[in-house]
């Protein structure tokens, strides 16, 4: 606008077609970057920083976070895509691909003179229709372990190599099944992920209990306790100066000593209470007693407890306190005054594992663990990070499937079906918005196209093949990435999340619409006034 120009001569303005071109090129640029990631045959990316830090990933979300996106439009799309990940845990790459493709298809019509407003009208109609297709195609069935395994495998196969994916699949599903309670939302925080730089990635396991990355700090405490009562508490067991005063000047050393002793007695009394309680509950020989304290325990207190055969861990993480109660039963005590045997948890086995300077304490064989730990192993930190990201996504996928109560056939089946349905729907729509619908339908096909490309097949040929197959079969067909032929995804267990697709349709349409309707880009912020 000239008004802006006259106020700020340095303002940069891009108008109408130019503005659209800016947006489209940004969206397509981002699409090109992420294109090669999609699917289990996508390209793994190894990022090495100037100082030699390594990152290994093919997760669109991780990559978008890594990239330093300067272009405002591109960063807007990136933000939507990462928001998709925050909400549903998957679909970042698809999101970027579809937005890019929607703009590309729209551009074909707009360059022939169609007003962007009409295109977006078509988009709205198409989106609603596509959502209907999604409802039709979704498979509502009892979400049993097999279904969940399929969902998790579909997600994990796109993140890590197949053997590892199959291993993780089992762990992820079992973890979620362990913590899920009927009629309650699943809290994935109850699945702890613990990293251990040790052995290989194939040694990653699921521990039905808690693993903590610290151990007992006393040489005489047992490294292995069976049949253990677990006392979780949040009580300070270390000598602390109770009064706040300028304690600089004691008259003499003995006086100082006396004061210290008096305060020490306070702590000793607490420890004595625990010891007495232990004696009370552990009357038989073969019972162990483990104290896990959120606050500190000083060496003297540790010593007292070690003498009584108690294993004590100090400074447990706050988030682990809740998990401990869920895994072992019992509850966390905030005071030692009203301890009863009911407050105690139980674990069949508690043991310590030392790795260099790092100690790990395993609390296992719990009766009915509602909090579990996935112990991630790997030879180096970037492998650990990669597995952690993958597990995170896998957990989300399983959780989504349980909460949706339904799944979607994967391998591009939905997109093929939606395209066919939209082309049919288009015929019934009057006027130019039908062009928008056609654009939308074509844009959706980017997913199977890129899947085919990444697996080394010809995109057009594959699409045609799939469409023919779909028309003949009458049920959703997807792409077999190893042969390039059509397959029935539900038969081979390629299942996607319903909510991921739904969210995709919504957010891509909104962003593409917004970007298309931009007819002027101005840069006249205060930062450009500098100088």
């Amino acid at each position: 606008m000239s008004a802006v120009k006259s106020l700020n001569p340095k303002a940069e303005v891009a108008r109408a077609a130019q503005a659209l071109a800016v947006n489209i090129s940004a969206a397509r640029g981002l699409q090109d970057v992420l294109k090669s990631n999609l699917g289990p045959k996508g390209t793994m990316k190894m990022l090495v920083s100037g100082s030699g830090d390594i990152k290994l990933t093919k997760d669109g979300n991780v990559l978008l976070h890594e990239m330093q996106i300067q272009h405002p439009t591109a960063s807007l799309i990136a933000r939507v895509a990462t928001a998709q990940d925050d909400i549903t845990g998957d679909g970042t790459t698809s999101n970027v691909l579809i937005i890019g493709e929607l703009l590309k298809q729209a551009d074909l019509y707009i360059s022939e003179g169609l007003h962007p407003r009409i295109v977006t009208e078509g988009f709205e109609l198409a989106r609603n229709k596509a959502l209907e297709v999604l409802e039709d195609i979704k498979v509502v069935r009892e979400i049993d372990r097999d279904t969940l395994i399929n969902v998790a495998r579909t997600s994990l196969r796109t993140k890590v190599h197949p053997e590892l994916a199959d291993l993780l699949t089992e762990h992820v599903v079992d973890a979620v099944l362990a913590i899920s309670k009927p009629d309650e939302p699943i809290d994935l925080h109850m699945v702890e992920m613990m990293e251990m730089q040790h052995k290989t990635d194939m040694d990653t396991t699921l521990v039905r209990g808690i693993v903590m990355d610290h151990g007992a700090r006393h040489p005489d405490m047992k490294k292995r306790v069976e049949n253990a009562y677990i006392l979780t508490c949040n009580v300070s067991l270390e000598y602390e100066k109770s009064e706040v005063n300028a304690g600089f000047f004691y008259k003499s050393a003995t006086e100082r000593e006396k004061l210290v002793q008096a305060e020490r007695a306070f702590t000793d009394a607490r420890v004595a209470k625990i010891i007495e309680f232990k004696k009370q509950v552990c009357d038989e020989k073969n019972k162990g007693f483990v104290v896990i304290n959120q606050k500190g325990i000083d060496p003297l207190s540790l010593d007292m407890m070690a003498k009584e055969g108690i294993v004590a861990l100090r400074r447990a993480k706050r988030r682990n306190m809740e998990r401990l109660a869920l895994a072992c039963g019992g509850m966390a005590m905030n005071s030692l005054d009203d301890m009863t045997p009911e407050c105690l948890g139980y674990a069949g086995l508690v043991y310590e594992h030392v790795l260099g300077e790092q100690k790990y304490t395993f609390v296992e064989e719990c009766k009915n663990p509602q909090s579990v730990t996935i112990l991630i192993k790997g030879p180096n930190s970037h492998t650990l990070a990669q597995i952690k990201d993958a597990i995170h996504d896998g957990l989300r996928a399983v959780k989504n499937a349980i909460e949706d109560g339904s799944v979607i056939p994967g391998a591009g089946a939905f997109e093929i079906a939606a395209h066919a349905a939209l082309m049919k729907y288009k015929e019934g729509v009057k006027g130019r918005p039908r062009l928008g619908i056609a654009a939308y339908a074509d844009a959706l096909l980017v997913i199977p196209k890129v899947l085919a490309q990444n697996s080394g097949f010809d995109a057009q040929e594959t699409i045609v093949k799939l469409q023919e197959e779909y028309a003949a079969a009458g049920q959703p067909v997807g792409l077999d990435l190893s042969s390039g032929e059509a397959l029935i995804p539900t038969d081979v267990g390629i299942l996607d999340n319903y909510r991921v697709k739904k969210q995709l349709l919504h957010s891509c349409t909104v962003i593409a619409t917004n970007l298309l309707l931009v007819d002027e880009i101005m840069r006249a912020g205060l930062s450009s006034l500098k100088g």
Partner: protein, 577 residues
Amino acid sequence: MAGTTKEVVTIQLGHYANFVGTHWWNIQESSFVYDPGVCQGPKEINHDVLFREGETLQKDVTYTPRLIAFDLKGSLNTLRQEGTLYDITDEAEDLKWPSDVTLHKVDVTRKNEFLQDLDKQDLCLQQEKATQEIPHQEDEKGEHTGADRGDVTPDVFGSKLYNLDKSVSVWSDFLRLHLHPRSLTVIEEYQYENKEDSQPFDIFGCGQQLLCSNQKLKQQVEDKLHFFIEECDHLQGFQLLLDSYNGFGGLACHLLEDLTDEYSTKGLLSFGVTPAIFENSTRIQDTHRLITSALTYEKLANHSSLFVPLSLNSALWGRKPDLVSFPHLKYNALLDYHTSAVLGASLDTVTVPYRLETNAVSVAELTDMLGSHGRKVAALSASLPFPITDSGSLVETLMTHSDSLPWKPLTPYCAKCSMPFAQSSVLRGVHGNLVKRNLAPTAPKLLRDCSTVEEVMRLYLTDMCPESLNVSWSLQQACQVTAPFPHIFAQDVSVNGLLSQKARPDTLGVSSVPMLSSLQSSPDVASLVDHLHTEATRVNIKKFHKFFEAGLEPDDFTETLNNLETLAQQYSTDTLL
């Protein structure tokens, strides 16, 4: 681990804070004595307070700071986030991914001369150890405690003179020691030295919200804190070093609130640092810094046991910088590398009381003494180097300063040097035999009777500040200023730090200097807080929408201003009379 060491965990937030911190750790590391035979005199400093002993997966013993440092993405230059200390060497990358893998490599940044020499030294040590290991397999224990680094005296820390002024752009360019892999935390959301388009990290609220919005970061911080804290048998407290003028101030406040919550009985000593000069800064950036400083100062004064603002610009937030000038220093205020060196050396000296081998006080005791009556902001002054001549004596030096105190303020707006309410001063690097050599017979008898450094200091302080609560410590060990400490000393400072008539040749650097520092609860702090309050009141906060976007309410800001006013009143001496 030593039986009764009271550990302190250090937290560094922000790029400039890391600059200061790096100098500080370097100074400490250069005073390490690896060979017990070489050690002269008693061990004075207990390094276990700030350092921890660890073990790598190869069973090598390590000694690293008990430190958690935060910085922005892209600020580490050649330093790897996890360091190289705990690296596993036989690393053949085993990629099992069945299809393509692409490699995206950023060009390797060239290390400067100093870092290259450090690498060479590390390599040389490793080889040496490998050759040693074969014959000594039985008595391996103890042998390797120090062998990790620095056992042999390589030429890196010898006489070689570095000029790093041009090659240091970030703090890792002169980091002399290894950090633990868990020490560094990189904030991925914001970019260091950002280009025009990306979001700068200069708003208080941005930092404050960081831990709420980013669960991954939050968990990371919790894990790291846990790692360093859990192993402490007698944790006595925390020391925070933070950039008080940008988003890190907000992050620090958030972290501090959590720490006070969890560790209410521990001492929390925080130092807020600000560079002397911001080059090419716009008015808006200046104001952002001002508002953020106001918010940070108010929160820190509230939540830490003692808060010490530090900068070499004694007219912070003013139009023109007013640089602190030291008589025997010539530093370049534009270089963070220089200014942070002065602050780093001062911090190393002022924190001596809780790092002493014998008779140490705890952080909490120190902060209680200086932060009573709600005066939780303290001022730091230092004399670098302490101006003792190569022929003079301590008594003589102090007598030349009988009408003005010998130190310069490192806390802005505290140049008046009024009588402090309480102070803790540390004198280091003055040998017992320097107390009164060549003393003129005309000197007062009282002084002639003194025989130790402590006695002289006590007498001097009582004389100069009769109304203050004075505590003083002295230390034989001087402040080590060998490479990579910048060459900021004037020509009249000799190699051992004493002033001399002869000019020091250009080819020689100063290796250590005597130093005096004083941490004070002083009425001058009122003028600091007053300045901040006046400047911040002038700002029309409504114009700075970025703060509101980051969660600030207009009422909060007004309240902050009111609290600052109340804080300034705490220092008013009128109420005492």
